[in-house]
């Protein structure tokens, strides 16, 4: 996880295209410029970045399901709960499950788990739109490759 670059996910561990779910892994860094402000002397991952983490897992799931033909953009966040603090060094599991696929949007239920306990959850709606440019699409494919998602997508697992 590189907070300052919004790289919230380290690895896609599992993709279930039939069940329309994804499981991702990540580790909160021990140090980050983000912690210099949030908070000085008491480092905590900002809650909005927990939402972002769940949105990214949901987004990669949507990308995998549409074959990387369209981009997923976060549109709304509902029923978000931030149950406990996320500290530097925490190893987390992020899961997202499609709750509904509409025309041009997808709704997911996502959660973050740390040490077997639920840290946060939310219902997320993402718009599914054409990529703004071919370069953007290429960048997302490279990000997915970095996370191991492309390999999982090809296997359909």
């Amino acid at each position: 996880m590189r907070l300052e670059y919004f790289q919230m996910i380290d690895q896609v561990a599992a993709l279930d295209t039939q069940g329309r779910s994804i499981r991702c892994l990540s580790t909160v860094p021990q140090q980050s410029p983000v912690f210099e402000g949030h908070f000085p002397g008491h480092a905590l991952v900002p809650g909005v970045l927990l939402i972002e983490t769940m949105a990214q897992a949901s987004g990669y799931l949507a990308l995998a399901l549409n074959g990387f033909k369209k981009m997923a953009f976060l549109a709304s966040v509902k029923e978000a709960k931030l149950r406990t603090f996320m500290l530097p060094g925490a190893a987390i599991e992020i899961t997202a499950q499609v709750a509904h696929e509409g025309s041009g949007f997808v709704v997911t239920h996502a959660q973050i788990i740390c040490d077997g306990k639920r840290v946060s959850e939310a219902e997320l709606m993402l718009r599914i739109l054409p990529f703004p440019s071919p370069e953007f699409a290429d960048m997302m494919v490279k990000q997915a490759e970095r996370l191991g998602l492309e390999t999982l997508s090809e296997r359909g697992s």
Partner: protein, 94 residues
């Protein structure tokens, strides 16, 4: 409850609008001021309520290509009719 009433309830709740102001002739965008984000909630609510997938991307494409008019789908009464047709088609398909 008619399809129109159910759709009007969804619009009112999703967009925090006065239910009494929504009529079959109301244009969702021009008269009710529903923006694209609120319409996503309306769309989601309709999909769930009627167990269908509103083909909004196709409708939007048809409108942009001149094959349909905005009011064909985005006037509440017409939207309700389109929903009835989608529900009937789904039933017919088994």
């Amino acid at each position: 409850m008619s399809t129109f009433d159910e759709v009007a309830d969804i619009i009112a709740e999703s967009c925090s609008l006065d239910r009494e102001k929504i009529t079959p002739e109301s244009n969702i965008i021009d008269d009710l001021g529903v923006d694209s984000l609120d319409f996503l909630d309306v769309n989601f609510g309709i999909d769930k309520k009627f167990n269908i997938t509103l083909p909004v991307e196709k409708w939007t494409q048809d409108i942009s290509e001149g094959k349909a008019k905005t009011e064909d789908y985005f006037v509440v009464g017409n939207l309700a009719k389109a929903i009835d047709e989608l529900v009937a088609a789904k039933k017919a398909a088994g």
